[in-house]
Amino acid sequence: MTNNSCNTYIIAPASHEVTMPLQPAVLACVANDVSNVTGDGTAYTVICDYEHYDQNADYNTGTGIFTSPLTGIYLMFQQLGLNVFSGNNGYLKLITSNRNYYFCTRLFTNFVAPGVNYFSGYTLTDLDAGDTSTMQAVISGGAKSVDIKSNISTLRTYFNPKLVC
């Protein structure tokens, strides 16, 4: 075990698998479907209100904001499940203090699957201590009738940042 004066932050048992139970890492998802959040160009800030884990208490389930506890490189996975309609277009946006990232920009013509379609993205990003990150759904081309689809046991919409180095 590796300790500082307060905490055990690296555990290496005799079986040699190393865990870091206090390393900043979050898996938060939207617990239930949220109706009519975008579709008309509205930029909707996704609030993942259920945490599967949040090892350093860096994510706020009330605001959807991840706050970096220290300067470093963070690996960010994020995914949106949306019931888009033919004619919609849009993207998943990751907003960080330093810059924004756009994923899965696309136009839906006849590509819509019944029920839900996914937008996902992965990136490494540099964050300073206190920097924030949020994810947004931006869909246009129709009415404000696009829903967020998700539940707790089958993850469809989630935010999954972690400090890697």
């Binding site: 290496a12 865990t19 996902s120 089958t154």
Partner: protein, 168 residues
């Protein structure tokens, strides 16, 4: 320089100052053989990845299941290249199925987004909590058509692959 417990070298720090963890649970495997007519009619199919590239702690069964050796947070990445997609197959998704939670990837109208060769690649990544002994696998589910969709495998090219590691 190394960081050791009484038995093992857990971290290696080279003179170039990079850190590696040579005993950390981590694996990568790919499908060396194609798996034919496995879905397309909404069948849920557990994909086989028979060719191991590495398996640092021998936690992958060499076929399709990873077993968590300790409680922690594990990252998984999968890429599934499917062939034989038809226009009628209007739904499709990949699933990372673990004991406590599942993550869906790439839910889409597979028939519409297939390429000219009737291929469609599904991919995704997530870091999930697992208890010791929990397991994880990749599944594919495509519906709306006949059971004629194939998992594309190749002996030398990892078109269809599955990897994972203990993160923290």
């Amino acid at each position: 320089m190394v960081n050791q417990n009484s038995i093992n070298t857990n971290f290696t720090v080279g003179t170039e100052q990079a850190i590696v963890q040579p005993t950390q649970p981590a694996f990568f495997a790919f499908a060396g053989l194609s798996q034919l007519d496995v879905t397309g009619n909404n069948t849920i199919y557990s994909v086989h990845f028979d060719t191991e590239v590495f398996d640092q702690n021998a936690d992958y069964d060499g076929d399709y299941i990873f077993y968590a050796p300790v409680t922690g947070k594990y990252s998984f990445i999968c890429t599934l290249k499917m062939s034989g997609i038809t226009a009628a197959m209007n739904v499709g998704k990949a699933v990372c199925k673990s004991t406590s939670v599942s993550a869906d990837y790439c839910y889409s109208n597979a028939g519409c987004v297939r390429d000219a060769g009737n291929f469609r690649t599904f991919y995704g990544s997530i870091t999930i909590p697992m208890d010791a002994g929990d397991n994880s696998r990749c599944r594919i589910q495509i519906g709306g058509g006949l059971k004629v969709a194939d998992v594309m495998g190749d002996a030398s090219i990892s078109y269809t692959n599955f990897g994972g590691m203990l993160e923290c």
